[in-house]
Symmetry: C2
Subunit: 190 residues, 2 copies
C-alpha cells in the first residue's frame, strides 16, 4: 500500500495519517506474464492500481485480431471505466505484459472507501482530469501526425516504455503491421 499512499499524497492535499485504513478496501493481486486482469464480455467490477509491471488494454476485432488501444504501467490506474462505473459488460480486456502486481478495488468497495474517506475524491478528480487531458492530446496527435511521426513522438516521450512493450503490441497500438514497425525502427536507428 505504501506506493499507492505515496501517489495519493503526491497528487492531493490529503495527509498520510488520514489514509491508515485504506488498505482495508483493496486486494493485492499478482498476475503472471500474459495472464488476464479483465476479460471482454464479462462484467467489470474492478479497477486496478499498478504497483509493478505493465499491462495492455485491447479488444477483439471482428476478424479475431486483438487490437491494443492502451498501455498502463507503475502508478497508473487501469480498467474499462465505462463498464466499471455502470457495472456493465466489459468491452475491453486487460492483460499483463510482464509479471504484474496490482491493488484491485471493486466498485462497491470504492463506494465504501469514498464514504469513509471522501477526501480521496480530490485525488481521483486529479487522476481522471489528467487522464482525460491526455486523451484530448492523443486525439490531436492522431489527427495531426503520420504513423511514423506518432512512433517517433512515442519513442521520445516514453523511451522506457518501448523497452518493455513487445514490438507486435506496439505495432497493434499504432495501427502498423509488425513488419512496417520493424522497418521504421531500423530507419530511426540508422
Amino acid at each position: 500500500m505504501q506506493q499507492l499512499i505515496a501517489h495519493i499524497v503526491k497528487n492531493s492535499s490529503i495527509k498520510p495519517e488520514k489514509l491508515h485504513s485504506i488498505g482495508d478496501f483493496f486486494e493485492a493481486r499478482r498476475f503472471k506474464k500474459k495472464e488476464l486482469l479483465l476479460q471482454e464480455g464479462q462484467r467489470c467490477h474492478e479497477k486496478f492500481f499498478i504497483v509493478k509491471g505493465c499491462v495492455h488494454l485491447f479488444y477483439l476485432r471482428q476478424n479475431g485480431v486483438e487490437q491494443t488501444i492502451d498501455f498502463a504501467m507503475e502508478n497508473w490506474w487501469a480498467s474499462d471505466f465505462m463498464a466499471f462505473q455502470d457495472g456493465s459488460i466489459a468491452k475491453f480486456s486487460i492483460r499483463a505484459i510482464e509479471a504484474t502486481e496490482v491493488l484491485a478495488i471493486s466498485a462497491s468497495q470504492q463506494r465504501e472507501m469514498l464514504a469513509a474517506m471522501p477526501e480521496l475524491n480530490e485525488y481521483f478528480h486529479l487522476v481522471f482530469q489528467r487522464a482525460y487531458a491526455a486523451a484530448q492530446m492523443r486525439v490531436r496527435m492522431t489527427y495531426e501526425l503520420s504513423k511514423e511521426d506518432l512512433y517517433q513522438d512515442f519513442s521520445r516521450k516514453y523511451p522506457a516504455f518501448l523497452q518493455r512493450v513487445p514490438q507486435y503490441l506496439m505495432a497493434s497500438f499504432l495501427g502498423f503491421t509488425p513488419e512496417y514497425l520493424s522497418e521504421i525502427r531500423k530507419k530511426f536507428a540508422s
Copy 2:
C-alpha cells in the same frame, strides 16, 4: 446557477443547501455565434460549464485548416484540460457554434471553491471518470469502424447534435471532406 446546481446534485451525493455560495466562484458569460471562448496559443486559465448553446474544440493544422476534435453542449464541461491544469499555453481553441451561455471558472477560483467546498471533488471525479470512459470508447470506435459507420453511429447516438452542428464541422470531426459527408447523408437518407 440553478442548472449547474441541478447537475451537481444529480451526479453526486451533495445536498443543494451546501451549494448556496457556489455562484461566487463563477462568472456568467455570453458568446455570440462564432465567438471564441478560448484561443490556441494563449494561456488557458478557465474551464466552462455550458448552460445553453454548443461549442466546438479545434486546432490549426500546419496547412492552416481548422481540425475539429470535439463538441460540447448543455451540461458539458469544456476546456483544454491539459492547459487548464498546468496553466500552460492552450493547444486548442473553443468556438461557439450557436449563441452560447456558459459559467466560467478560473483555475485559481476553482482552488478556492474546492477548499471551501471539498465535497465538489466527488462531482468532478464522476464527471472526469465519465469523460475518460467516453474517450476510451471513442478510441475503440476509431479503430473499429469505417468512417461511414462512425457517422451512422454518431447519428444514432446523438440525433439532436447533428441538427445543431454545421455539416462542414461534422465533416472535419469525422475526417471527411464536406462533399463526402454530403454523399453519405444522401445515402443514409435514401
